[in-house]
């Protein structure tokens, strides 16, 4: 019974994808919605992303330095390890999990509240494609999400450099040499391909849980939690699949 319910939810999620592009909202109206979503979802996330990236980058550098007890291992490894962890996993995946909480709960609760207060019914009764009106601008705004992750990558490495150098764990030359050591340009492509996929999930899974929720204020809270769990689980699974496909 539970399996049937999950399968039906998954089917409904993919049907929602179809509705996102059906009967588009007038560009004149959509333009305003798009700007608002970019402000809420992208610009509004920069502060927390910058803070987390900078300090986690610093922690990665310190942890690596503290574990380098063998004098034969070069100090450049600190920069190398920071780059690899930040670029491959920390910035795209870890930040996306954090964003599943931050952006995801915002999206689910705002759409869910519209459902509870009949605002979505009002849109539908007027003849507006509510899925397109509410979800499409979020999806488009999150096409700028790789830009956020690019900033997270830069600040993570900067945090690592500052913690390494000013913490007395390595020299600036060693850290920068480590950052440049055995650099594989494809890793950037890999990181941004998965970031793009995570952006699609971040926009649509919380929207789905908000749009199709039933009940009152309490259920809005529950829907936000469920959306966070499912977005995180899906991000982890997609991360595994993409890594298996692109890096092995």
């Amino acid at each position: 019974m539970m399996l049937v319910r999950y399968l039906s939810q998954i089917g409904r999620y993919f049907l929602m994808w179809k509705d996102i592009f059906r009967k588009p909202t007038k560009w004149k109206v959509m333009k305003g919605l798009l700007i608002k979503e970019i402000d809420d979802l992208i610009i509004g996330s920069l502060g927390i992303v910058a803070f987390i990236s900078f300090f986690v980058g610093g922690v990665v550098a310190i942890q690596t330095a503290l574990n380098l007890t063998n004098p034969l291992i070069p100090k450049t490894l600190i920069g190398f390890a920071t780059r690899q962890s930040v670029l491959l996993e920390f910035a795209p995946t870890f930040i996306s999990i954090v964003m599943a909480g931050k952006m995801g709960s915002f999206i689910t609760s705002s759409i869910g509240t519209m459902r509870v207060t009949e605002q979505i019914d009002a849109l539908e009764v007027m003849g507006v494609n509510a899925v397109n009106y509410l979800v499409f601008p979020k999806l488009m705004a999150l096409l700028l999400y790789p830009f956020v992750i690019g900033i997270a990558m830069f600040l993570g490495m900067l945090g690592g450099w500052m913690a390494g150098v000013y913490g007395g764990f390595t020299s600036s030359e060693n850290f920068i040499a480590g950052l440049q050591n055995e650099f594989v340009p494809f890793h950037i492509a890999y990181a941004f391909i998965k970031t793009f996929l995570f952006a699609l999930l971040l926009a649509t899974i919380p929207s789905f849980h908000g749009f199709y929720m039933k009940g009152g204020a309490l259920e809005v809270g529950k829907a936000s939690t469920v959306a966070f769990v499912w977005t995180s689980v899906t991000i982890i699974l997609v991360n595994y699949i993409i890594t298996q496909l692109l890096l092995t």
Binding site: K23, T25, K26, K28, V29, T117, E118, Q119, D121, A122, E124, V125, M126, G127, V128, N129
Partner: protein, 255 residues
């Protein structure tokens, strides 16, 4: 005119509407009344296309809505105005933006034309200084008036109201009733109101459809409601002492 024939609707095992037929006339305030759980909200949502009927037909001026495709339904909905029970105003928009919304979505009017129309309808519902306020900054009665303004701004052919008086004080309630009636007659539109407010029924009930357990139990106008001997109506409407006395006085006058 909206004509429904043998409308049936079930949710699982629960049969909510059991073959309801009726006509909602143009230029008149058509009321759907009944106890909680009698099926009036389901009937209203079925008329609006939020629920699809299991059987029966719904004709909007001869156009059978039940056979329409999704896009045809969307097109017809631009001819419909709806006032929701909780007003359903978009809380991120100001009063003026809420009212302008249908015009921005469905017309190619210029900004000044839209502003003129918004000013006109807000004035029509007696809201003059509320343009830049958010829905959270105005009272429940004002929210209802904004909802009515938004519903009529695009000159609809059909106006639906779900419990337009719920949560309002008696004065505001009467104002809203009278406003809906005036608008219905002035623009000659088909208005369907879902209510269990007996004051509204007695004030503006041109055509009243009484539902009981998903079945049409009675239909008539407010004057006929005073004189009917239908048991279901008498039990529902005249259960309060006030309305019992009003009825007795009305019947005494007739004699």
């Amino acid at each position: 005119m909206i004509e429904i024939k043998n409308i049936e609707k079930s949710f699982g095992e629960n049969k909510v509407l059991k073959g309801i037929s009726s006509v909602f006339e143009t230029g008149k305030t058509n009321l759907i009344i009944g106890q909680s759980g009698s099926g009036k909200t389901v009937l209203l949502k079925t008329l609006l296309g939020i629920h699809t009927p299991d059987a029966g037909t719904i004709e909007f001026d001869g156009r059978n809505y039940t056979t329409f495709s999704r896009d045809e339904k969307s097109a017809l909905r631009t001819e419909i105005g709806m006032v929701f029970q909780g007003s359903a105003l978009f809380d991120s928009m100001t009063v003026a933006q809420n009212v302008a919304f249908p015009l921005k979505m469905f017309t190619n009017n210029s900004r000044s034309e839209i502003n003129d129309r918004v000013d006109f309808v807000l004035k029509r519902v007696n809201l003059i200084d509320a343009h830049h306020k958010l829905p959270s900054e105005i009272s429940g009665g004002m929210q209802k008036r904004v909802a009515i303004a938004r519903a009529i701004v695009n000159k609809p052919q059909y106006l639906f109201c779900d419990e337009p008086n719920s949560g309002l004080d008696p004065n505001t309630s009467t104002l809203i009733d009278n406003l809906i009636k005036e608008i219905t007659e002035e623009y000659n539109i088909t208005t369907v109101i879902n209510t269990h407010d007996m004051n509204s029924v007695m004030e503006i009930g041109d055509n009243i459809l009484f539902l009981k357990n998903g079945v049409k139990a009675w239909q008539g106008n407010k004057d006929e409601m005073f004189t009917t001997e239908n048991e279901a109506v008498v039990e529902f409407v005249y259960s309060s002492n006030l309305f019992k006395k009003v009825r007795e006085a009305y019947l005494k006058d007739l004699k």
